[in-house]
Amino acid sequence: MRIVTWILRFASIVTFAAMAFLVYSAMDVNDVWHWAAPYEFVVTVFRLLSLIFFFASIVLLSALVIVFTGANPGTLVTGLYNTLVLRMWYMQPYGVRGPLTNINQVMAQFQGDLERILLSLWDNAFLFLYFLCAGVSIALFLQSLFRMEHKYASGAFVSMQLILILAAFRGHLIPNFEVFPADFLVFLFHPVQILALISFAYLETSYQMIYSHSVGKPVEEREETLRKQLLALRQATRKVDAIERGDKVSLTAMSRSSGATAFSFLREAIERKVVGSKDALENLDAISDVRRLQNYVDDILTSDSRARDELTAKAASPSSGYIIGSTIMGSAIRFLSVVAVSFLLISPSVLTTILNLPIGIQNSVEILQPEMTLLLLVPIALLFPFAAMVITWFSKREVVEEPKLSKEEEEEQKRHKRRIEQLKKEAKEKRRAREKARKEAQKRREHGEEKDEWDKALEETYR
């Protein structure tokens, strides 16, 4: 199975690279890939922060100065501006040399700076976000290759597409059909469709890769776990022998080498012996458990030739050839059906043909808008789950089985229950009667009747 996973991993890399390249090319026409954009964005953010800090400082300090001294805080404000804004972030206004001394000039400058920085931030933010999305997408893509989890593959896909969504929001040019093609072949080979298809293909191949990994992995892991467990058991038995002989044995060395830390049964048995209990009998149990398990496993492995394969579930591993074949076939069918159905849903020509729309709408500009897709998308998209629901409902596959007891067994259970209840009831009555008799006997004794030894002994217990 590993080879299939590697093939699909390669396919995933290729489709991701293709998708990334196409997105890069599509965005390149907008001249957005300025490599200094992230740096500029960060600097702009800090400049904005310095302005905000300056404003907060002058408000606070001016108030304090006025309250405590009654003096004009003009000098303080200009000083702060010169220090926090001009000197620290190099925002010296054009044509002005040296520090500003006039408070009115400072405030006017502050206002101008703020507007300029905010506008600059707006511009830089998008450029920065494109880089951020691309970076996140690549990082998630790499994670998906190694961790084999769907969330990383989906994250890489969504991050990459977010670049185009943000660009659309910003008003940049992104791939688009001027007019949606009426011809399926034109649509199929259109660069816009190819970008969409490759993006979809990336998601498909990544998911197939994860499937291939997860369908083969449990068997491989099982085999590895069993190997470790058997090794750990063998070592534990040797260790137990050594302990009995009185040799000193290191616990940690064994755990690390054999993976016994993941093997709770053994660890418990070993720890009971070595780490700690003072009770020699408990140690004897631990030794006995390990030995018995070893003997049991040895017996199974020698008496049953299939035992090892069953423990590893080797036979459960699907054939690589079949997985490759079914992956190619399944993906091809899915691509074709998705492209064909989507064309039918989006194409205005199909819409007008199928829906027999009024002539006014057919000739309107609205028919050429993407929103028209909704006319067929919603009912058709809901039709599939509905069909699945009907099929499931008819086949009743989710009914949880009830354990079946034969009539005789049910009767027997009921009889047993009734018998126990009856016995309990009788026992309760007898007990009550005995209590009553005991009390009467006590009364008689109190009236001077003779007591036997048992009665006296009982009385003593109540004293």
Binding site: L203, F265, I300, S395, E460
Partner: protein, 440 residues
């Protein structure tokens, strides 16, 4: 059923489609439609092919009755009886919570072809006696991309009876072997000197002794007449009265008073069978749950184990009914050993003892003292410590009074904790043998 992952794909699709609408962009719309259609287009096909009812599970175990602490191999075979393959099927075979998975895994995820089967196995260690069920089995079927799933729980369960632990017997045998003192160090057979054929020793000649018993060789060596003595082995009959009232279940799960009582009964039965003594067991609370009369048949041990395996602490202890029930069925003189915490009213216990003594039997009480089986005092805070000490004192005073009352009738009460429970029972048995109590 659409998985969480499937819903994430739908939301991504909706995001792209609506983005396409907002900016009048066909690329975003097309990609969104691809995602939505890609998710739903295979749904009917999946529902049609995912005939999860076509999955059948067979579970096999190598033993249906095991001792607590023994290992059991569970083989699970998954058959696909349908005509379709399952791309991704997960199978979780459940086992009792208290058991330990020793080797292998109880889970498999794979693909299964039509008409084929997958077999996997794992080894469990059975813990805690009782009747258990292996299963049910959860079967989850997913499509390749993990967007849809169906789940089914196969309720078929495999019953397995777990006898009380055999470790005490093993432990005793191991110690016996180590010390090379036979089966149990310090163990002696009860013998009556004078009869039988086993040579017991010499003693001085007393007028009236038959001449054939004089050992001339030894007499010549000693210079005095000496006769040979012979002995005959006698056996005793013991009945273990195991109290399973609710209070016997207090303590840590594997260290309750009842668990120790059961272990003691198992040990005693084993010792008795080894020495050809008769040991019976009565499990009772407010009713007699089971009674295995004293016997030496080969199946006797298993009968006792089965009755003890099913014992569970509940209700109150009706000593009188239990004793009447057993006494009615016991003709020979017997030693009744009670395993009870004596937390009930003393009157029924004394009455029960009265019945035992009146019928010519002997009795002894091995009484686990509750606080010794529960949380160690060291783990308590100051308030709990004071409370627990007060409760302990109260309980101790109570049982002291009962012990004193019973002692008047030669019935001893031995207070035991987890550490000395089993040694005490061995000692009691040995003493009974040596004193020749309840011989038949």
């Amino acid at each position: 059923m659409i998985t969480q992952r499937g819903f994430a794909v739908v939301f991504s699709g909706v995001l792209l489609v609506t983005s396409g609408f907002v900016w009048a962009n066909f690329y975003l719309t097309t990609l969104g439609v691809y995602l939505i259609i890609g998710l739903v287009v295979t749904l009917p096909l999946f529902a049609l092919t995912a005939n999860i009812a076509g999955i059948q599970i067979d579970r096999e175990i190598d033993k249906v009755k095991v001792f607590s602490g023994d290992f059991v191999r569970v083989r699970v075979t998954v058959h696909n009886t349908s005509r379709r393959h399952f791309d991704f099927i997960e199978i979780w075979d459940q086992y009792p919570e208290t058991w330990i998975l020793a080797i292998g895994e109880n889970f498999i995820a794979s693909r299964i072809e039509p008409g084929s089967s997958i077999t996997f196995s794992y080894i469990l260690q059975a813990r805690m006696r009782g009747r258990y069920n292996l299963g049910p089995t959860d079967v989850v079927m997913r499509d390749r991309l993990g967007l849809h799933y169906y789940k089914r729980t196969l309720e078929a369960e495999t019953e397995i009876l777990v006898y009380p632990t055999w470790k005490d017997v093993r432990r005793m045998e191991a110690l016996g072997k180590q010390r090379q003192l036979g089966l149990m160090f310090g163990a002696h057979r009860t013998k009556i000197v004078g009869m039988g054929t086993d040579f017991a020793g010499f003693r001085e000649y007393v007028p009236g002794d038959p001449f054939r018993l004089i050992d001339w060789k030894t007499s010549a060596k000693r210079g005095d007449l000496v006769v040979r003595q012979f002995e005959q082995e006698k056996n005793i009959q013991v009945v273990c009265m195991v109290d399973t009232s609710g209070s016997m279940g207090n303590g840590y799960p594997e260290n309750t008073k009842l668990e120790y009582a059961i272990r003691a009964a198992v040990l005693l039965t084993h010792l008795g069978l080894e020495r050809k003594d008769l040991v019976g067991t009565c499990v009772f609370s407010e009713i007699v749950h089971s009674y295995v009369p004293p016997a030496t048949s080969p199946n006797h041990m298993y009968n006792v184990l089965e009755s003890l395996a099913m014992a569970s602490p509940s209700g109150w202890g009706d000593y009188e009914s239990a004793v009447s029930y057993v006494v009615e069925q016991t003709r020979k003189r017997s030693l009744f050993i009670f395993f009870t915490d004596m937390e009930e009213s003393p009157a029924p216990l004394l009455n029960a003892m009265k019945t035992i003594v009146a019928n010519g039997h002997r009795a002894q009480v091995i009484s686990p003292f509750g606080p010794w089986f529960e949380a160690p005092v060291g783990q308590f805070g100051p308030v709990e410590k004071v409370l627990s000490e007060a409760v302990s004192e109260e309980l101790w005073e109570r049982r002291r009074k009962i012990s004193r009352a019973l002692a008047k009738f030669n019935i001893s009460v031995v207070n035991v904790g987890p550490e000395d429970f089993l040694p005490t029972i061995i000692k009691t048995y040995e003493e009974a043998k040596q004193r020749g109590v309840a011989m038949f």
